[in-house]
Amino acid sequence: MVNPLQTAILEPVAASGLFQMAWLMIAIPLVSAAFLLLVGKASNAWGHLLATLAPIASFGIGLALFFQLLGASVAERTVEVPVYEWIGVGPWDVQIALLVDQLSILFVLLITGVGSLIHIYSIGYMEHDERRRRFFAYLNLFIAAMLVLVLANSYLVLFIGWEGVGLASYLLIGFWQHRPAAAAAAKKAFVMNRVGDIGMALAMITMFAHFGSVEFAEVGKNAAQFSPLTATLVGLFLLLAACGKSAQVPLQAWLLDAMEGPTPVSALIHAATMVTAGVYLIVRSGPIFDQTPVASTAVVVVGTVTLLVGAWIGTSKDDIKKVLAGSTMSQIGYMILAAGIGPAGYVFAIFHLLTHGFFKANMFLGAGSIMHGMDDDVNMRNFGALGRAMRWTFLTFAMGYLAIIGFPFFAGFYSKDHIIVAAFEHNMIVGICALIGAGITAYYMTRLMVMTFFGRKRWEHGVHPHESPGVMVFPLVVLAILSVVAGVAMNSWINGWLVPAVGGEEHTYGLLDGFTEPIGWLTMGVVAIGVVIAVSVFKSVPKEAPRGNFLERAARRDVYGDDINNAVVVNPLMAFIGLLTGFDRGKVDGAVEGIGASTSGLGQVLRRLQSGYVRSYGLTMVAGAVLVGAVLILGQLA
C-alpha cells in the first residue's frame, strides 16, 4: 500500500551569514574534549566547568540558527554549509558539508539543550569521581559526534557521527572500567552497534554503486530510479543500521547492559539522543522507504515488536534503571512504528522523539538523584516512601511519569496519541498493539512510582535518603517543566514546521483532539486500567522478589535476548574460532613444519649410503656407470 503522500524534496540553499559558522557547533565541544584529554591532570580542577560551557555555547548557536530558520521562508529553510572536500577520487566527490534544515535544527536543539542540562547535572553527580575530567571530555566528544550525525548532509558524514557516537557510548558505558561488568557491557554495545553499521555500510556502498554519491539531496532525487529489489535491500540495510543504534529487537540486548554506565550517560545517550539516531536515519531516508513498501512494513513490524518487548521487560525488572531502559526501548519502538508508517508518521515520530527526550532524560536524572541519595543502590525493593524524603525529585519524577503514561495535557499524551491514531489508520493489528503497549507502559510506570515513592519504607539500615544538591535539582526542574509544556507547545506547530522537510500533508491539530476522537478515549481508558491494576498489585511490596509467573521470569531474563544472541551467534562463532585456531596451529603450520621434518628425514636415510666399505663404493660406481651407459644407449636408440 504505497503511501499517497509525496515526500517533499527541497533544493538546499547556499549557506550565508551565521550558517557559515554552523560547523562551530561541532568544533567547540570537539576542541574542548581534545583539550581536556590532552592537557591531562592540570585541568582537573576547572576542566568540568569548561566542558559544561561547550554544549551551552553550541546550544546558543543552535538557538540563533533556529530563529533565523523560523524567520526564513519555507524555501530557504534547507541550508547547506560546505566545509571542505573529503575524498575526491575517480567518480566520487565526497564533501564534508553540513545540512541545516527544519529536522536537523530540532535535533540540534534537543541534543545541545538536554546535553547542557545533563552536563550541569553531572557536575553534581560526578563530584567525588577522580576521573571527572575524563568523563566530561567523553561527554563533549559525544555531543560533537551526535551533532555531526544530525548535521551531516550525506550518509558518509552521518556515518562519521554514527561511529563517533558509538565510540563515545563505548567509552562512557565502560567509564568505570575497573568493573568487569561495565567493560563487558561497553564492548558488547560497541560490537552490536558495529553489526548495525554493516547495514549502514552496505546501504552506502549500494548508493555509491548506483548514484556515485550519498548526499541526501542526490539520493532523494534519484531514489525513484532504484529497482524495487535494490530499494528493498537498501531499506532493509538502513533498518538493520537503525536497529543496531536504536536497540530495536534483533539488536536490543546491549541497551539493558548499557545501564552499567553512570546515570547521566544513560540519560543523555541511552534515553535522549543516541538511541533516537535510528529514527532520524529512517526519517532522513524517507524517499528510499517510499519506494519499498516491503521495507516500510518491516520497519513497522520491528517497531511494534520492540514496543511490546520493551514494555514486557519493564514490567518485572527490579533495577530502576533497567525499567527505564526497557521503557526507552518501548518508546523508541513507538517512534520506529510511526516512521515505518511512511510520510504520514514522520512528523509524529519526531514529535514523540522530542517529548520523549525531555521526560525520559528527566526520569533518568531523577533515578540518578535517587541513587545519589540511596548510596548508589538501584534495587526498587529497597526504596519505598521516598516521596517525602526527596520532595523535588519526587515532584519532577511525577511530571515525567504523567507525561510518559500519556496523562491528558502532558507531553506524552499528545505525541503518543497521534502515533496510536496513525497506527490505527495504518493497520488495525498494529493499532491494537500500540494500544496494549500504552496500557503496559502505564502499568510498569505506575509500578515504578508506587514502589519507589509510595508505600512503606523498605530502606536498608544505615541508609537515610536526602535531597540532591541544587546543581542536580535545577536540570530536573527544567526538564520537568519541558515534559509538561513541550506537548502543548509543539502539538500544532511541529506539523507545519516539519512537513516541508520530511513530507506528509499539512494538517493542523487542535489541543483537544485527544478528546474528540474515539481512539483518544480508548487510549485514556486503557491507560487508566493500567494504572489501577499497578496501584492495586503493588500496595504491599515484599522485600524479596517473588518467583513470579512465566512472563515475569522471562522479563527478568530480558526476554531471553542475550541467551538467543549467545546461542545463535556468539557460541557457534567462538567454537568455530577454537576450531580454526587449532586448524591453523596444527594443519597449516603442521604442513610447513612437515616439509622441514621430511627433508631432514630423507637426509637421515641417504646418510646410510656412506657405509665405509670400499667394496660397496665400488659397486655403486659400477652400477652408476652401467646406468649411465644404458641411458646413453637408450637415448641413442630412441
Partner: protein
Amino acid sequence: MSFPLLTLLGAVPLVGALVVMFTPRATGRVTGLFISLLTTALALVVVGLAAGGRDLSEQFTWIPAFGAHWAMNADGISLTMVLLTVLLTPFVLIASWNVGHADAEDGWGPRAFSALVLVMESFALFCFMATDVLVFYIFFEATLIPMYFLIGGFGEAGRRRAAIKFLLFGLGGGLILLAGVVGVYAISAGNGQPTMLLADLAGMPMGTGTERVLFVLFFIAFALKAPMVPFHTWLPDAAESGTPGTSALLVGVLDKIGTFGMIRFCLELFPGASQWAAPVVLILALISMIYGALAAIGETDILRLIAFTSVSHFGFIVIGIFSFTTISMTGATFYMFNHAFSTGVLFLAAHFLIQRRGSQKIADYGGVQKLAPVLAGVFLLGGLSSLALPGMSSFVSEFMVIAGSFSQNIWIGGISTLGMVLAATYILLMYQRTMTGPVTEDVEEAFGEERSNDLTGRERWAVAPLLLIIFVFGFFPKPMLDLIEPAVTTTMSQVGVSDPSLTMEGSN
C-alpha cells in the same frame, strides 16, 4: 635524467648503517636515529619535487646481456610506499631505544639494531622505487637478510627458529619470483632485444598461456611475502618471537613489498592474466581476510594477535587491488599507507606493555588502564585505527576498498563488510582482557604505584607523531589521495580496465 636523487635517497640509509657500525657504542643509536631522520627529510624533498611535476626517473644500463638497467622512478604509488617507510622507521627506532643487551660484547646491542634497521630501510626504498624487474628482484631478496638478523638477533626465546622459518618462506618466494624473472627475460629476448625495463615490458605481447603462468609465479611469490592465508604461518611466529619494533617494520614496510609488487608487476606486466585470475584471487583474499580476523579473535598471545590482524588487513588490500576500480585501488594503496601506522602504533604500544610486564600472554594482564592510563589510551587509539573507526585514516581506505569492490562484485564487497565487525571484536576483546577489569596483583607490581611507569617522554614521542598522522589523514586524506590517484589511473589504463559505469547516471 638529471642528478640521481632517488638512488641517493636509497643509498643514504645504507651508508648511514655503515657509519653507525663504526661510531662508538654509546652514540650508535643516536647517529642511527639522526640518519633515519635525514632520510625522512630527503624523502620529503623528493615527494615535494615529484608532486611538483619534476621527472625524477633514472636509467643507467647495467647488464646489457640481460637488458637489465639500474632504473628508478617515483610515481604516486611508489612515493606513497617511500613516504610510509621513511615516516615509520625513525619512530620505530625511538621506540626500540633499549632493544638488545646494551653492553652486549657480541655486537647484538642497540647499535647493531639501528644499523640493521637502516639497511632494511634502504633495501625497501630501492625495492619501492625500482622500475627494473631484475633490480626489484635483487632487493626483494636482499631485504630478507637484515630482517633475518633483526628477528634472529633480538627478541624472545624461539627467535632463531622463527628467523629461519621466515627466511625459508622468503627464499621460497624469492625462488618462485626468480623463475618469473627468468620467464620475463625469455619472453623479452624472444621479442627482439632482451629488456628488464618495466616500461618496455608493459606492452610486451606474449601467449596467454605463458602470460598466465608468469602471472601465477609472480602472484605466489608476492602472496608469500604479503602473507595470504595458506602461506601466512611465518608471520605470527616471526612477530611472536621478534621484538615488536622489528615486527612493526616487518609488517609495516617489508610485507608491503608483496602487495606493492602485485600492483606494479602482476598487474602492469600481465594485464590479461590479472583479469583472468581476478575472481580466484578475490576469493583467496576474502578467505585470507576472514581467516586472519577469526584467528586473531582466538589468539591468546598479544603479538601473534596483532600479526593475525595484519593478515586480515592484507586480505583487504588484495581485495582492493584486484577489484580493478579506481576507488578500490586508490583505497588499497592508501590502505597500505595507513596500515603501516595503525599496526605500527599497536605493535609499539604492545612493546611498551610487554617491556614493563615481561609476558606476551593476554591472560597475564588485567586493569592496566587504571595504573597506566596513557599507555592504555595509546593502545586503544591504535586498536581503533586498526578497526577503521571513521575520523581515522584507515576508515577512509577501508571504506574505499569495500565500496570499490562492491561496485565490481556485489558478493565480495558485501562479505568484506563482515571484516568491520570482526575487527571490532578482536580489538575490543583484547583491550577488555588486558586493560579493563580489576587490577591483577602481578600487573600491580609491574605497573605499581611506586614505580608509576606510565609512558615515558621518549615513548610518547615515539607514538604521538604516528597517531597524529593517523588523525590528520583521517580528516584530510586529500593530499595523499591526490598523490595516489594519477598513478592508479595510469595503472588501470595499462591493465585495460575501467570503472563500472554507474547503473544510474546520478549527477553529483
